[in-house]
């Protein structure tokens, strides 16, 4: 496989991570806690889409190898994830009177609840959308790129969502209000910002993107009650790498982590190829840069990045 091939794989995977990490980062900065239920929010999106797709099926024609019905399901997945998150905020988080670490613990509880409900309803076995998988796009094969139209659809949809978010944040006051609120919630209220509304919008956007990420994850791989939870650690890494609370940082962090994750075989080829001296060091490095350690490598790279930029890629420099 060529470098381009690895990069293409990385891009597809990154798209999903990015969708997850933006939402996590938004909620992190506004609601001021690390939401451990975020992964399971993705799962909710995925399963809602599964049910919807089961109902509407291959409605009408198809784009990028995906029936229209899938896009309907995607929208429903986004909506349900958002609604569930807003409901949780209203019902659970808002009435709470605790600090951020308390909220974090609460969100662990919420995550358990989401997951168990899904498992009770759908069982624990994996499943997939009823969409015929595709073969790789012929035209790209000569470059060593092996992606399908579905992969293209994932990247394109993610790009649309991310650009949409960018526009929303840039050309409406919402983004600025969010930052103001993250900075100083009391002062935000004093200035006349209706903070509850901003919080709700944050949840809608964050959870909606997570829902979309979940649907794509289901399309990319498969659905299981633990799918989102299994991705959570990686998403956290992405968010912290990007600089906590920065939406654009989360995008960059998600992109990087997704890439690194998929590029490990390439790295291991590289270390195989380059001479390292002394021998024992070569053995250690080659031992470590192997696919068994793919996740560890992602974390190590993240730590190295943070050593250089202690506040994350997009974080502001420390005083």
């Amino acid at each position: 496989m060529t470098v381009l091939g690895y990069l293409a794989d990385g891009l597809v995977f990154s798209s999903i991570i990015v969708l997850g990490s933006i939402g996590l980062s938004l909620v992190y900065s506004i609601a001021d806690f690390a939401n451990f239920a975020h992964g399971d929010t993705m799962t909710i999106g995925a399963y809602s889409a599964l049910v919807t797709f089961g109902a509407v099926g291959g409605l009408g024609g198809a784009v990028l190898g995906l029936p229209y019905g899938f896009f309907v399901a995607l929208v429903v997945g986004i909506a349900v994830a958002a609604v569930v998150a807003v409901g949780t905020e209203k019902l659970i988080y808002e009435p709470l009177d605790i600090d951020s670490i308390g909220l974090l613990i609460t969100s662990i509880g919420i995550a358990f609840i989401y997951r168990s409900v899904i498992q009770i309803r759908f069982g624990s076995d994996f499943t997939r959308f009823d969409i015929q998988p595709l073969r790789p796009i012929e035209a790209l094969l000569p470059y060593g790129i092996r992606v399908t139209l579905h992969d293209v659809a994932i990247v394109a949809s993610a790009a649309v969502l991310v650009v949409g978010l960018h526009v929303l944040l840039q050309y409406t006051d919402l983004g600025r209000k969010m930052r103001a609120m993250a900075d100083n919630p009391d002062l935000a209220r004093i200035s006349g910002i209706r903070t509850r509304r901003v919080t709700l919008w944050t949840w809608v956007i964050g959870a909606g993107l997570a829902g979309a990420g979940g649907v794509f994850l289901g399309l990319f791989n498969q659905l299981s009650p633990r799918m989102g939870f299994n991705l959570l650690l990686v998403i956290f890494a992405a968010v912290i790498l990007g600089g906590i609370g920065s939406v654009y940082g989360a995008m960059a962090g998600g992109f990087l982590i997704g890439m690194i994750n998929q590029l490990t075989p390439f790295f291991s080829n590289v270390v195989e190829a380059i001479p390292i001296w002394p021998g024992w060091l070569a053995a250690v490095i080659r031992g470590l840069i192997s696919i068994e350690y793919a996740n560890a490598i992602a974390f190590l790279i993240m730590v190295v990045v943070l050593l250089v930029r202690p506040n994350g890629i997009a974080g502001e420099s420390a005083s």
């Binding site: 498992q119 076995d125 997939r128 790789p136 092996r146």
Partner: protein, 409 residues
Amino acid sequence: LSTTDDGGDGGDGSDGSDGSDGSDGDDGSDGGDGGDSSGPYEIGMVDSQTGSLSAFGERNQRGVNLALSRVNEVGIGGRELDIVVEDSESENQGGIAAAQKLVNQDGVPFLIGAVGSGVSLAIYESVVEGTDVVQLSQNSTGLNLTNFPGLLRMSPSGRSQSLALSNIITDDGYDEVAITYVNNDYGQSLTDAFVNAYDGEVVYNSPHDQEQQSYSGVISEMNSSGAEAWLFITYQAEFATMVNEVFSSGYEAQFYGADSVSGDNVLENTPEGSMDGMKIVTPSAPVEEENYQSFAEDFEAEYGQQPTSWAAYAYDCVINAALAIQAADEFTGAALQDTVRRVSGPDGEAVTSFEAASQILADGGGPDDVDYQGVSGPIDFNEDGDPVGFLQVLEVQDHAYEGIDFIEG
């Protein structure tokens, strides 16, 4: 000395782990039989109801339920069989805690468990060993279990599978193979055994973690290894992901797999033709045999799908346990230790259903007068506690499993 307990509630905590010595010795002091002939016999099961192996737990559960209804239709000497199922969360800690509760709290003399080989061994070493509780693992195929004769299992050791696979691959004319295995005791021990047995060259051999979102790294490395035969020793979910990725990456290879890669859910969730020609070795009773057929029929009627071997193992565990209870003089670990092997051992009349076997016992037959033939194979535990492996070779044809060969372990 004889006491009556089992007063209906689950938590009596009186029987079970007799010490090696002590006042009550090994006579029937705390057995639930005798006086109380109405309450159910209570045995325990540690299953992966949540956690990474929960899908297997679910399959087990179907087999257990089916078996329970079979047993309780007939009854064990007029009493019912009840199974307390505890969740291992697919982890050692959870498994041990579950077993602790079953053995030391519920006082079950017979423990079915667990799914993962690591968890089964952990339970054996920390809870069961040194007591006379019978432990019968439903799904563990790890090779290590062979070294623990006190730990029985219904699924044959992976060694026979590995041997069979190596023979098949060699016979198919491949002298190079690429292997990927799930990074746990099961995957690792089967792979080790395969590598030992295989005469050709293993050009790629790498573990993968469970529940990853993508294995494209692994399969692209398998592809670049140049081997034309790819061997997968992993679980269904992981394997389905890999098949899809192979398909959508456009790679071509001859697939081989160990038992855990097969299942209806794999077929359902992979594209038509993506695995055609794949060969899988799975422990099983000959599918054409009448007892398997009736099991499969019932199973389909109940759950609307083909049974998996995990359901079959769990089914056999329950039946075997029920027969052991019926054949034993009393409901104690010591007594069950004695009968558990014999009711399905090679001596005696071969029968294929609980009803038939139970009839023999009811007619005054001893444990050696029955030879229960399971739906997963003839059972016949050897001195290491492993069953006689009967292996079926499946080939995927038109996106369905077809039995093409049958190997006796």
